[in-house]
């Protein structure tokens, strides 16, 4: 293989910004025929943007294209849509399955590339009325499946398959294309069991040996080390490392490059730790939550009274499912004790009555009444739950608009919500200010335990620090226990007392915020280092 170093794919100074926000800067690397390139980075590091650029997805073109150039087989790419990329020989195995459940493995593998039998009438219809040649389709599917070395029935319906098999069907479909040159695997092993993952890695090698160039994206760093010929590491949109296997690297090194050296963050954490290890406000045992894309499998977590607990982990691992499950917004099961008493799951009302509050990651879906004024949004929940802002006139309860507006004005001042007045519609506010309205509403519920989910997602840096500051002072001054879920590890580390990392629907470990970055990186990658405790 050493003699065979034809370059297949080359990125030259590729960059991309969305509305002035640079998400990818100056990426250059090249990939040779028959080689496997590992691509690692945290969520938001720019991996998916890179792949979107390569595929010329709609959202790249509609936002003004990209900087730099990409060459495939020495020819500069000029794709107009993903189909062009596919026809040119670039394939991708997606993280989410794009398979048709009611079709068999064969039908999926050969979707829109079916073998057909010519017939007289069909000529007039450009082959559309050819009947399918099921026998040849079966053979062709069988061949790819065997090439991958998996045990899979080509005539089985995808809907009846275990997850691992679906993944292999997806891969078979990409491999089955005749002209495939570059294959991208986006977290293909995330849903696989260990033995299935081994088969897959073996299949990757087989494919590479047949001359296909492969980009392998995974957060399981050991797999990257096992299978890749070289690795590139992305952090904050920049290529921070490009190493070959010969140069040698370890899981710990990769994790460190990925997360970055300890950033000199002005720590917002309280100076002295809390002495509350035995005062458990909520004890979660064997929690499962059925939330699309964020399945929680078996979470055990004890939340201490008065603490600021962070919940981190990569996207799709289940961290968002935890607050949604507890607050009754997603179907959940397991045992939860609140103040030592059993807590009813699947009931938002019960959760609110027990003085729990939740600031959802889905601001527009669950958080806000967009076409109502700010003061309505701030006071709405507490009116429902706590019967605040209600006055009795002749035995009828009416709402007290004046008091509602006054309270809201206080929040507008303390949280620096930028709006014309408390009567402005929430829809007209910026994302950050909408988030502050959500916080004000949660605060107005006077919670004892507050769940905050992705509070800084999609808001600018200035608003970010204000939101975090508000949460922190609420925690310290009022002694409210806060559980904050966030994808941004640095943000969690800057504010939380302890951080639980969720991986594969379970708690991978709980670390104190000032542990080394690589320990977090390892936990996120699903590698259990020697069990840490805070």
């Amino acid at each position: 293989m050493h003699t065979d170093n034809q370059e297949v794919l080359r990125f030259e100074n590729v960059g991309k910004s969305f509305f002035g926000n640079q998400v990818l800067k100056d990426i250059s690397f090249s990939l040779e025929k028959g080689k496997i390139l590992g691509l690692v980075g945290e969520n938001g590091a720019g991996k998916s943007t890179m792949m979107k650029i390569l595929f010329s997805m709609d959202d790249i073109r509609e936002t003004g294209g990209y900087e730099g150039a990409i060459y495939l087989d020495g020819v500069r790419l000029d794709f107009n849509n993903p189909m062009d990329a596919i026809n040119a020989g670039v394939g991708m195995v997606h993280q989410e399955f794009s398979l048709i459940p009611g079709f068999t493995a064969t039908e999926n593998i050969l979707l829109n590339r079916e073998f057909t039998k010519r017939s007289v009438i069909s000529k007039a219809f450009r082959g559309k009325l050819d009947t399918l040649d099921r026998r040849r389709m079966h053979l062709s599917a069988q061949e790819v499946i065997e090439l991958l070395g998996v045990n899979l029935d080509p005539d089985m319906f995808v809907s009846n398959m275990p997850v691992g098999h679906k993944q292999f069907v997806e891969i078979s479909r990409e491999v089955n294309r005749e002209n495939v040159k570059v294959l991208i695997f986006d977290e293909p092993t995330a849903v696989l069991t260990e033995s299935e993952a081994q088969v897959l890695l073996h299949a990757l090698r087989t494919l590479a040996d047949r001359g296909v160039a492969i980009i392998f994206i995974s957060h399981r760093l050991q797999e990257i080390i096992d299978v890749c010929d070289s690795v590139i590491v992305l952090r904050d949109g920049e290529l921070v490392k490009d190493v070959r296997k010969e140069e040698g690297y370890s899981v710990v090194q990769l994790a460190k490059w990925m997360v970055g050296r300890d950033v000199e963050s002005k720590s917002a954490r309280r100076e002295k730790g809390l002495d509350n290890a035995d005062d458990i406000v909520m004890d979660i045992r064997n929690l499962w939550v059925n939330m699309a894309g964020e399945l929680v499998d078996d979470v055990n977590l004890s939340i201490r009274r008065g603490e600021f607990l962070g919940v981190g982990g990569l996207a799709g691992q289940g961290k968002l499912g935890i607050p949604n499950g507890i607050m009754g917004l997603a179907e959940a099961g397991g045992t939860v004790l609140y103040d030592g008493k059993p807590f009813a799951l699947n009931s938002p009302k019960a959760a609110l009555d027990l003085k729990l509050a939740f600031v959802s990651e889905d601001r527009r879906g669950f958080g806000l009444l967009l076409d109502e004024p700010v003061y309505w949004n701030v006071t709405f929940s507490s009116m429902q739950v706590l019967n605040k802002y209600l006055k009795r006139y002749l035995g009828v309860r009416l709402r007290d608009d004046k008091e509602m507006r006054e309270t809201t004005r206080e929040y507008i001042n303390s949280l620096e919500i930028r709006c014309v007045s408390e009567k402005q519609k929430v829809r007209e506010l910026s994302g950050g200010n909408q988030q502050k309205v959500c916080l004000a509403r949660a605060f107005d519920l006077e919670p004892e335990l507050l769940f905050v989910s992705e509070p800084t997602r999609g808001i600018d840096i200035g608003a970010k620090s204000l939101v975090l500051q508000a949460l922190k002072s609420y925690n310290e001054d009022k002694g409210v226990t806060i559980v904050m879920v966030s994808s941004e590890l640095e943000e969690l580390r800057s504010i939380c007392d302890r951080i639980a990392i969720i991986c594969d629907g379970k708690v991978a470990g709980i670390l104190s915020a000032d542990e080394d970055s690589e320990k977090f990186g390892l936990l996120m990658s699903g590698l259990r280092s020697d069990k840490e405790s805070a």
Binding site: P82, M83, I86, S98, L99, I100, P101, G102, F103, E107, L111, N112, R113, E114, T116, S122, F125, G127, K128, L129, D130, T131, L132, S159, V163, D283, R285, N286, W288, N290, A292, L295, D297, D298, N300, L301, S302, G333, G334, G505, V507, G509, I510, K531, E532, S533
Partner: protein, 386 residues
């Protein structure tokens, strides 16, 4: 999986036919009809209706739900039948000419419907339902005001007494029974099995369409339609032109509905000019659903079974109601009540079944965890690091 569970799942999946089979069984003795009479009726109606119901299959395959816009094709055929009657073209040639005239009109209607439904993805059923009523207005303008004034109609007997516009009901004497009794006329005697008349040619035509549908499913285009029906996103990603495929399904369905309506009319021979089209669409949808079809899945055997069961219910229930309540006008009320209740019930149960299915799919992953939860309960020590 245990046998018991399989049976339960099977029962729940076929709950609609089972309910209506039970209803029919209860009603049958009350109606007082003889078995022979019922068999004759069912045979006639199988010939009359099956073609129309088959026209629903392809849009269903394409994931567009039940095409309540079937009436569009029927309207095209009503226009064609008015012309054929006016020109006094009779017999098989009359039927074939009507089909020929209806085709371009159906294509235009189908194209319009297809474009409209492509802009209402995910809400096809309600859209096509309303589309039926909307197009009825357009159709009525043509027939009520256009015909006899702008469009020449020679036969005064077809027109309203004011001189233009077609009468409420016209008799299709020229084409009546063209298919049903074709062999009878050729042979000079009534083709029958055990005293039951058989509409041989009609049944052959229906059989031919069944064969065509079966063949169509196995073609490249059929495969594309099935793929689009299951997942538009995945299909588009594989390079299938989703919108075009859906329009083709709609075109096929509308043209077939037009032919189906002509087959229907040569049997009935009395055409309600202003109300026929959408009624036929409603009945066809009900027959399909009663045969166990869901809004996303149906097969040819289901269609035939559905037509038979629906019409059995249709014949038996009003008479039973009439006998029980002793009022003749109850009969018509019961017919409408039955068809709409079938549609409503079937759609609700379908939705409910689909949700169950989805939950099962999601929870397939869950079962492992569920087992673990039980074992974890047995051991009090939680796994949380202390």
């Amino acid at each position: 999986m245990s046998k018991k569970l399989d049976f339960k799942v099977l029962f729940m999946k076929n709950i609609v036919p089972v309910i209506f089979l039970l209803m029919t069984a209860i009603m049958m003795p009350f109606s007082g009809y003889s078995g022979k009479f019922l068999v004759q009726e069912i045979v006639t109606r199988l010939g009359r209706d099956t073609f129309l119901v088959l026209a629903l299959l392809i849009p269903l395959m394409a994931g567009m739900g039940i095409n309540f816009g079937l009436g569009l094709g029927a309207m095209a055929s009503q226009i064609a039948l008015v012309f054929v009657t006016d020109w006094h073209v009779t017999g098989v040639s009359g039927v074939l000419l009507a089909m020929l005239i209806s085709t371009p009109i159906s294509l235009v209607f189908g194209l319009f419907g297809g474009y409209l439904l492509n802009n209402a993805k995910g809400r096809e059923m309600i859209t096509s339902y309303v589309l039926g009523f909307f197009m009825l207005g357009a159709y009525q303008i043509i027939v009520l005001f256009g015909m006899g004034s702008i469009i020449p109609i020679g036969d005064e007997g077809l027109l309203l007494s004011r001189g233009f516009g077609i009468r409420n009901t016209i008799m299709l004497d020229g084409v009546a029974g063209s298919f049903d009794t074709l062999l009878d006329r050729l042979f000079g005697f009534r083709v029958q099995i055990a005293d039951i008349g058989i509409p041989v040619v009609t049944i052959l035509v229906v059989a031919l369409l069944c064969l065509l549908t079966w063949w169509f499913r196995r073609t490249k285009l059929g495969q594309e339609i099935r793929a689009v029906g299951q997942d538009m996103g995945v299909s588009a990603a594989s390079g299938i032109n989703v919108s075009r495929t859906r329009i083709i399904s709609m075109l096929i369905s509308t043209v077939l509905a037009g032919y189906g309506y002509i087959v229907f009319m040569q049997n009935v021979s009395v055409m309600p000019v202003y109300t026929g089209a959408n009624t036929v669409a409603t009945y066809a949808a009900a027959a399909l659903l009663v045969g166990g079809a869901t809004a996303s899945k149906a097969g040819i055997p289901g269609v035939i079974f559905g037509v038979a069961l629906f019409h059995l219910l249709f014949i038996v229930t009003p008479m039973a109601a009439n006998r029980i309540f002793g009022a003749a006008e109850v009969a018509e009320y019961f017919r409408l009540f039955i068809s709409y209740s079938i549609i409503a019930l079937a759609l609700v149960l379908n939705g409910w079944n689909a949700k169950k299915e989805k939950d099962r799919a999601l929870f397939g992953h869950r079962n492992r965890g569920g087992d673990r939860i039980n074992t974890a309960d047995a051991q009090p020590e939680p796994a949380t690091p202390k």
